[in-house]
């Protein structure tokens, strides 16, 4: 525990104890208000796991609240004990979450937001019409019990659990799965994260907590009807609260809920007219001037105490040791045994067509273990598409790809990564809002399940040093220059501990010295660690230094395969790619 954390933890414990003692202090109004804040917090925090952590804005979050409220109420009215009713609420809602998740997660980005939003009026209609179950428009009248104190304490308990859950999620690998999905789903899969279960799990978790909020609040209110729990007029409130405070931060939902709920109550009690206008204006102004939320604004960041509230999750687990200036000569990669006579990758008649456009045409290719093969050809000849077929970004239309003896057909992208295929992208695709260190740590975590994030972040330092990015260790990936991003891309691919490394035009845009460094790296990983490399490149001087042979593609078809100095004299290659002027040069 660092020095700055101790006062916060103490303050947190004191706050929870104080809140728990609130009912004893007698002011029922304060308790009621605090109760609504607690419920709002549960809703807000559970929403943020899906939105802030994973980047999916679920505007139908209230559906889970409502389903939980109804399930609880129905169970309670049917004379089941309260504890059972709460379990029923969570159980039913979790099932609903799974059922909703599968179709909904087919949508991305804004479409997901639209789609989930539409679920709310659907739920309302269902509640109105499924009268035998939900009692329709009459609503459900719960037996009146004086549960104010116990529901309050229960809500407080759930809040504490929700908060601890947030802390825990961000300490384990799951949190990084969420964050990698948030940044770039395809890349997350390619480095070994299996994303659909991650999405469903986080949605179910989020739903469970929302269901508890709905159950506890309806217990306290002793009456629910469809409009109360599914009404559109309350649907956006938890969303606004989280965004107000700072989505994706540990204290964001808490600060947002406290601020907006407090403001709302103050307006309700003290302002006679246009309270909603004022409330709306505040939200609007925050959106305009502090869209990252209060905790990300410059004035909070500047303050010492408030600024600590605004720390990103990774700042809680990263060791703040200063950057180690040593350059590691060895990477924590396994030294693979290499048999040059065994093929590592075999493409048999691979064909990839997009509608009428054939991008890869009947390619037969064998890559031996330990080779460095250059893959060249004019732009648009299918080099990147071939890479995409190997790493399963696309499923080939025909043909087979065998890797280390296994047929890759029907394997998922993350399974390919686990088998040992790593790749870089032509235009670097780092996880933009993660730091350089985190970018490397994610594949490390997914190739060795025994590593905790903290350990993975430690190990990542070696890779970062190898890529000579140590001064930028804790910088956000999107703040890097192009060359730095390419270095990061390469290091991240290495962190996948690959047997086969697919390098896609890593040298373009670099200075000659930088190019030489990459060439050295590629040679190094093959010589010292036995990694096989396929390198797509246009810069011949780079290829010439290190490749064993070169394969030429043209319009999706393989037209030449051999040593570099032979291939460049090949007539077809000259005609289609190098140009006749090159004939005399090489």
């Amino acid at each position: 525990m660092t020095r700055t954390e101790l006062p916060f933890r103490l303050a947190g414990v004191i706050a929870v104890v104080a809140l728990a003692a609130l009912p004893l202090l007698g002011n029922a109004y304060l308790v009621t208000f605090a109760f609504t804040v607690l419920i709002a917090y549960i809703l807000a925090q559970s929403w943020d796991w899906v939105a802030g952590e994973m980047g999916y804005v679920n505007l139908g979050h209230y559906v889970f609240y409502g389903v939980g409220a109804y399930a609880f109420s129905i169970a309670l009215v049917a004379q089941y004990p309260t504890a059972f009713a709460l379990l029923a609420a969570v159980g039913v809602t979790a099932v609903v979450a799974v059922l909703i998740g599968f179709p909904m997660f087919r949508l991305r980005g804004d479409y997901f937001a639209f789609g989930t939003l539409a679920l709310l009026p659907l739920a309302e209609v269902l509640a109105y019409n499924l009268t035998p179950i939900t009692n329709g428009a009459d609503g459900i009248v719960l037996p009146v019990q004086n549960v104010q104190t116990i529901s309050y304490l229960l809500a407080l308990g759930v809040c504490v659990v929700a908060f601890l859950m947030t802390v825990w999620i961000n300490r384990i690998r799951f949190g990084y799965a969420l964050k990698s999905v948030r940044n770039d789903e395809e890349v997350a899969e390619v480095i070994g994260v299996r994303i659909l279960p991650v999405k469903i799990k986080v949605l179910t978790l989020s739903a469970a907590f929302a269901a508890l909020a709905g159950a506890i609040q309806s217990w306290q209110m002793s009456y629910i009807d469809p409009a109360t729990v599914f009404g559109l007029n309350v649907a956006l409130v938890p969303v606004a609260m989280v965004l107000f405070g700072g989505s994706g931060l540990r204290w964001g939902p808490f600060v947002g809920v406290l601020a907006l709920a407090g403001m709302q109550q103050w307006l309700l009690v003290n302002v006679k007219v246009l309270q909603t206008t004022i409330y709306g204006a505040i939200i609007l102004l925050i959106g305009r001037f502090m869209p990252g939320g209060i905790l990300r604004s410059s004035w909070v960041r500047g303050s010492r105490w408030l600024g600590a509230l605004g720390r990103d999750h990774h700042e809680y687990i990263v060791d703040k040791r200063g950057a180690d200036p040593r350059v590691a000569a060895t990477l924590p990669l396994p030294r693979l045994t290499v048999d040059r006579r065994q093929p590592l990758l075999e493409c048999r008649s691979v064909r990839m067509a997009f509608g009428g456009n054939v991008a890869v045409n009947n390619v037969n290719l064998k890559i031996m273990q330990g080779e460095i093969v250059g893959l060249i050809g004019p732009n648009g000849c299918g080099k990147t598409t071939l890479f995409n077929c190997i790493s399963k970004v696309f499923e080939p239309t025909a043909g087979e790809i065998h890797f280390a003896g296994r047929n890759l057909r029907e394997l998922r992208r993350d399974e390919i990564a686990q088998l040992g295929v790593g790749r870089t992208y032509q235009i670097p695709r780092p996880f933009s809002d993660l730091t350089v260190q985190e970018n490397i740590a994610v594949p490390l975590m997914y190739h060795d399940a025994s590593l905790t994030p903290r350990q993975a972040l430690e190990q990542a330092r070696d890779f970062v040093a190898y890529a000579q990015l140590t001064p930028r260790l804790t910088a956000r990936a999107d703040s890097l220059s192009l060359q730095e991003k390419k270095a990061l891309e390469f290091a991240r691919a290495l962190a996948c501990k690959p047997k086969l490394l697919l390098v896609d035009e890593v040298a373009s845009g670099l200075t000659p010295a930088e190019v030489t460094r990459f060439v050295d790296h590629i040679r190094h990983v093959r010589d010292d660690y036995g990694v096989t490399v396929i390198w797509v490149e246009h810069i011949f001087s780079a290829l010439a230094q290190v490749v064993d042979r070169v394969v030429v593609l043209e319009q999706g078809a393989l037209i030449a395969d051999g040593a570099l100095h032979d291939v460049v004299k090949d007539e077809r290659v000259l005609r289609t790619y190098l140009g006749s002027a090159a004939a005399g040069v090489v």
């Binding site: 009621t32 009459d138 609503g139 209110m221 009456y223 407090g262």
Partner: protein, 403 residues
């Protein structure tokens, strides 16, 4: 700038806390302080469409009552003025709950009146019960809400579902040519569904054959399919059990699709409906709890209040429910003879209270017996047509505009 922001933050935090501090507690039962009625009104949010200008109406009510000194309290040997504490519940139950708690514990009101609507009438009574503060709710019509064994809870929905169309069906039994079939169109809402539930049974008992019953949801805009069914059934009476707003497209489309019947009856025929459908409303019958020109106890007070607050009884039918809750509470205090919650509770229990349209009698659950008069729109004007003793106009049967 940063200093300014710091100051603003601290000020905001401070005022948040101050919001929870109370006013100096009004001493309950004191003869020298005004009697405080605590209430919330849905001034914003979806229910505000039903509660137009009620804050002003409430304050004017207090003014008018206080004009003569206030409420006669025997124990104080004088008239004590009344005062309202009014908050906006924003149509959100959780907000209403916290506001009633505040009024009970921080503002220290003497009695509760309101709220309205079942969504709020569900969660709020337990608070009154807990603090033992008598509450006379307004337009809370769902009977099951009164079945919870509360001792401090009453309500004055106007009219109550079991008596809603009593006079109308009485009228039907005496009309010539006699209607023999009836089609129910119901808005999906507990009140209106309750009305249909009760009155479809009574219609059958009266010898009317139910040739159709359809329910529509709040947002339905295209009634073509439903109207097709009505036309196919060819009923003598079309009974629309709906709030005025959602039924506007229904009425308009019934007109344009030339629905024919001896009568089209709307359980909430209001001025608001009239304004929106215009001439389409001609010939329709409806229910009204009270109307200008009715003479009964407190009718002067009610008329003055409505006139001053610029509300027409025909416009928004919920106002009488609201006002009645105030009238009942005032009378209960007079009957109790003291500003004492327990005495007022006893006075309210199974009590009978005066109101312009007839006595309000509570049963042991706190549920009243309010009825309504049958009205008809003729020539753009609304007149009471049944019962004949109080009618201001003659009923036109069958309705010519729907023939």
């Amino acid at each position: 700038m940063r200093m300014l922001r710091k100051i603003l933050t601290i000020a905001a935090a401070g005022s948040c806390l101050a919001a929870f501090a109370g006013d100096a507690a009004a001493k309950l039962g004191s003869c020298n302080e005004p009697i405080v009625f605590g209430t919330t009104i849905s001034e914003t949010g979806p229910f505000s469409t039903l509660a137009d200008r009620w804050r002003g109406m409430t304050e004017i009510f207090a003014e008018e009552v206080n004009r003569s000194g206030g409420v006669q309290v025997k124990a104080c040997n004088k008239k004590v003025p009344i005062k309202f504490v009014i908050y906006d519940d924003q149509s959100v139950p959780a907000a209403a709950v916290s506001l009633y708690e505040k009024m009970a514990t921080v503002d220290n009101v003497d009695f509760f009146v309101g709220p309205d609507w079942s969504s709020l009438g569900g969660p709020v009574p337990p608070i009154a019960e807990k603090h033992k503060i008598p509450i006379v709710m307004g337009n809370v019509a769902t009977p099951s809400i009164y079945d919870r064994g509360f001792k401090y809870v009453w309500g004055t929905p106007y009219p109550v579902v079991p008596r809603w169309s009593e006079r109308y069906f009485d009228m039907l039994s005496k009309m010539n040519p006699k209607p023999t079939s009836i089609f129910f169109i119901t808005h999906d809402n507990p009140v209106t569904k309750g009305i249909t539930g009760v009155w479809s049974k009574k219609a059958e008992a009266q010898g009317l054959k139910i040739v159709g019953s359809e329910t529509f949801s709040q947002e339905l805009k295209d009634f073509t399919a439903l109207i097709a069914k009505v036309r196919a059934a060819k009923p003598d009476v079309v009974y629309i059990s709906s709030f005025d707003g959602p039924s506007v497209p229904l009425v308009q489309q019934m007109r344009s699709l030339k629905v024919r019947a001896m009568d089209v009856h709307h359980v909430m025929l209001t001025g608001s409906l009239y304004r929106q459908v215009g001439k389409d409303i001609e010939g329709m019958t409806g229910e009204l709890s009270w109307y200008p020109g009715i003479k009964g106890p407190y009718s002067d007070l009610v008329e003055t209040v409505m006139q001053r607050s610029n509300i027409s009884m025909f416009d928004y039918i919920w106002t009488l429910g609201r006002l009645s809750s105030y009238l009942v509470m005032v009378q209960a205090i007079e009957k109790a003879g003291a500003v004492d919650r327990e005495k007022v509770r006893e006075a309210l229990y199974k009590g009978t209270f005066k109101a312009p349209a007839g006595d309000i009698v509570f049963d042991e659950r706190g549920f009243p017996n309010n009825g309504a008069f049958t009205v008809q729109m003729v020539g753009g004007k609304v007149s009471v047509v049944w019962p004949p003793e109080v009618a201001t106009g003659k009923v036109v049967w069958p309705s010519p505009s729907w023939k």
